[in-house]
């Protein structure tokens, strides 16, 4: 609305995007600005704490939760290009800090305004990409945390339907875990390998040129397996396609 102040968004890029594929962070930033948000990237962010949380190390997880809340609670919204890191903030933080009198309410307040990027764009901002074109066939994998803990399923598909030329193909077992599981994939690497092998087979069978998903961890797992198998499938985060940034190198295709 004209005259209404733009909502402020604290962008948490996630540790994997920060280190492995910054382009996902810039695509997210671009989409948020296109959607009419004022975006800031707090410098005090590192990792949401999920590796500690999933290892049972609640003390370190709680420390990172407090650090993150302190850096982000001032914004109208907190947005992440990851369903699993967002779910950690939405469900994990309030649970971790439930018995901490100084932090419990702050954790709940932040959880209430934390969103995964595609659901934020579609549900909160009513955004739809305009003038985007990508002539390719693609299939989509539903990352588990986003799907089951945050209900991210229809939003990325709805947003992608606005990209002209993009032919979406169904992925059998789209809602079955890819075997990443954070530290699981290295702790129980052989089991993880068996799971991601089946996932890669299903992806290859679609014949789609692109694999899209909303979590870089899962994408790295699937892309790494596809590449090891010699498959030609190119992997992108959903936001890269939505932001018109999927013309360049895919995950694992080195930029000069």
């Amino acid at each position: 609305m004209p005259g209404e102040p733009k909502p402020t968004v604290g962008l948490f890029v996630t540790c994997l995007v920060d280190a492995i594929r910054p382009q996902i962070g810039f695509a997210t930033l671009q989409l948020l600005e296109e959607a009419g948000c004022v975006v800031e990237v707090p410098q005090a962010q590192t990792c949401c704490g999920q590796p500690a949380l999933n290892s049972g190390d609640d003390r370190d997880a709680a420390h990172l939760a407090r650090q993150t809340i302190a850096a982000f609670e001032g914004y109208d919204h907190v947005v992440l290009p990851s369903g699993s890191c967002a779910a950690t903030m939405v469900h994990g933080y309030p649970e971790l800090l439930a018995s901490d009198p100084d932090w419990a309410a702050r954790a709940r307040a932040m959880a209430a305004k934390t969103h995964e990027i595609t659901s934020f764009l579609a549900d909160v901002m009513g955004y739809a990409p305009a003038g985007r074109r990508l002539n390719a066939s693609a299939t989509y994998h539903d990352s588990c945390s986003g799907l089951r803990e945050l209900g991210v399923a229809a939003q990325p598909r709805a947003l992608l339907s606005h990209v002209e030329g993009l032919e979406m193909r169904g992925l059998p077992g789209n809602d079955v875990c890819c075997g990443f599981g954070g530290t699981f994939c290295v702790k129980y690497s052989e089991i993880s390998n068996a799971i991601v092998t089946e996932k890669a087979e299903a992806i290859e069978e679609t014949g789609a040129e692109l694999l899209l998903a909303g979590d870089l961890g899962c994408l790295m797992n699937m892309a790494g397996k596809l590449n090891r198998r010699g498959a030609k499938t190119r992997c992108f985060h959903t936001v890269e396609v939505l932001a018109g940034r999927a013309e360049g190198p895919a995950i694992g295709e080195d930029a000069p």
Binding site: D18, P22, S145, T183, P249
Partner: protein, 471 residues
């Protein structure tokens, strides 16, 4: 029960992963189960309401367990059954063995019961010199194979029908004439029929203990529970105390969930309420009925964070939908109960030190909780075990050190930036093109898949540079 020596979990999992026939068997059974459950739920629009009700029934009973146990004992006793209380598996085994020996039993038939497996009944009977005959077709198969169940609904699911044909050829006298399922089932019927009629004692579990009638309920699709519990002189029921329901109507409310979630059927072929021994004038039934109520860790769960696990109605849906179970099958878990529900229960039964791998060997994808008909938050409970394992120092030192160092850095954003500034270019040295095929200390990843080469400069550094340039 003292667990026999077992190879470490990872070795068991590795052996399972290397068995292509096992994978075929798992895919057949869990794939079928998944499809049939989905079809059953599609035809059951009130599932969510039924699930909420089922959960409420279980929560109510768990909150008033003492009351319903006493009510059940009173009503079962009034019907002429003898109720026994077993604090743990050893007591339960001793009670059953004592009843068998007092009756001078030579032959015992048994209808499938996971509680019986949990308390180690098969071994206890063998030790007492009593012949045990498993009457459930799948249990018959694994008895011939000398194995333990690998699934709580389909104990022989790890065996293909081709393998079963081999077992029957070797184990049936005379062997079945052909390998088609119908001929093999006929052969098993013939072998088992003799035993049904000559057994001294029949032992069953219970799917429900009905407090207001004192009846125990068994459900099967083969009718073997009826033939196990009716002809012999004595019927022994072994059941966990969490099987209580207030009334028969509550049992049916849970049955609607159980059957659809387990097999995708609407109702089991046989649903029988066993209410006391034969009464004067009854056409058949046992002369004595004993009900052994087993605690074995359940009242401890009642008091701690695993309380919600007592809701479990043993449908097996969680394992049918588990990516890990579908790769390694049931035996690799090493406990009585496999899959997600087993990963929560085994540390209760066998101790966390012996089973810490189970709650960790999970991707936390949440599909198990999504399909659970009584809404057990399985990932939350698995995380609770991880927390306890970390607190008790059971996690490996390398992991503790790794997480510890990482956390120290992640807790200091400026140090973290510095670490990425040094680390990323170093990591890139191991790459070729966009991929890293081998990375020291990262074999868990690179043994099986390539690692995308990290960025030369982190997002945060690039972003900061851009912001500066704009000013």
């Amino acid at each position: 029960m003292t667990a026999p020596f077992k190879a470490p979990f990872k070795n068991r999992a590795r052996a399972a992963l290397a068995d292509p026939v096992l994978k075929i068997a798992i895919d057949r059974t869990t794939g079928n189960a998944e499809r049939k459950r989905a079809a059953a739920l599609a035809a059951f629009p009130e599932f969510e309401t039924a699930r909420a009700r089922g959960r409420a029934i279980k929560d109510h009973v768990i909150a008033h367990l003492g009351h319903y146990l006493e009510l059940f004992e009173r009503n079962a006793t009034a019907r002429g059954a003898q109720v026994h209380w077993a604090a743990d598996d050893a007591e339960a085994r001793a009670i059953v063995t004592r009843i068998c020996l007092a009756a001078d039993a030579k032959l015992v038939t048994r209808a499938k019961s996971m509680l019986g497996e949990e308390i180690g009944l098969p071994h206890a009977l063998a030790d007492a010199g009593i012949e045990r005959v498993e009457t459930d077709l799948a249990e018959h198969i694994i008895q011939l194979a000398g194995e333990a169940p690998s699934h709580i609904i389909w104990p022989a699911m790890h065996r293909t029908r081709e393998q079963v044909a081999e077992l029957f050829k070797a184990g049936h006298q005379p062997p079945p004439a052909a390998e088609d399922p119908a001929t093999m089932v006929q052969s098993a019927r013939r072998v088992l029929r003799e035993k049904f009629l000559s057994a001294d004692i029949g032992i069953s579990g219970a799917n429900f203990l009905v407090a207001d009638t004192g009846a125990t309920c068994t459900v099967t699709n083969e009718g073997n529970a009826e033939l196990t519990t009716t002809p012999p002189r004595i019927h022994i029921v072994t059941a966990g105390i969490e099987k209580l329901v207030p009334s028969t109507a509550h049992a049916f409310a849970l049955l609607r969930l159980l059957v659809r979630s387990a097999t995708g059927g609407e109702m089991t072929q046989y649903t029988t309420f066993h209410a006391g021994p034969r009464r004067p004038g009854d056409a058949d039934g046992p002369e004595e009925m004993h009900i052994v109520l087993v605690d074995n860790g359940r009242s401890r769960m009642l008091a701690d964070e695993f309380r919600e696990m007592l809701r479990c109605i043993r449908c097996g849906a969680c394992m049918n939908h588990c990516v890990v179970y579908r790769q390694i099958g049931g035996h690799a878990y090493g406990g009585t109960y496999p899959g997600p529900m087993g990963a929560v229960l085994t540390p209760v039964l066998d101790g966390l030190a012996a089973s810490r791998d189970l709650p960790n060997a999970c991707t936390m994808n949440g599909r198990c909780a999504e399909v659970c008909p009584v809404g057990i938050p399985l990932p939350t409970l698995l995380r609770a075990w991880r927390r306890r394992s970390w607190r008790e120092g059971l996690e490996p030192g390398s992991l503790r050190a790794g997480i510890g160092i990482w956390a120290q850095v992640a807790r200091r954003p400026r140090l973290y930036r510095l670490a990425t500034r040094i680390g990323l270019p170093l990591m890139r040295l191991f790459g070729k093109g966009g991929w890293i095929a081998r990375l020291p200390l990262a074999g868990g990843w690179t043994d099986h898949r390539d690692l995308p080469r990290p960025a030369a400069r982190s997002f945060m550094d690039q972003y900061r540079a851009q912001q500066k340039a704009r000013k």
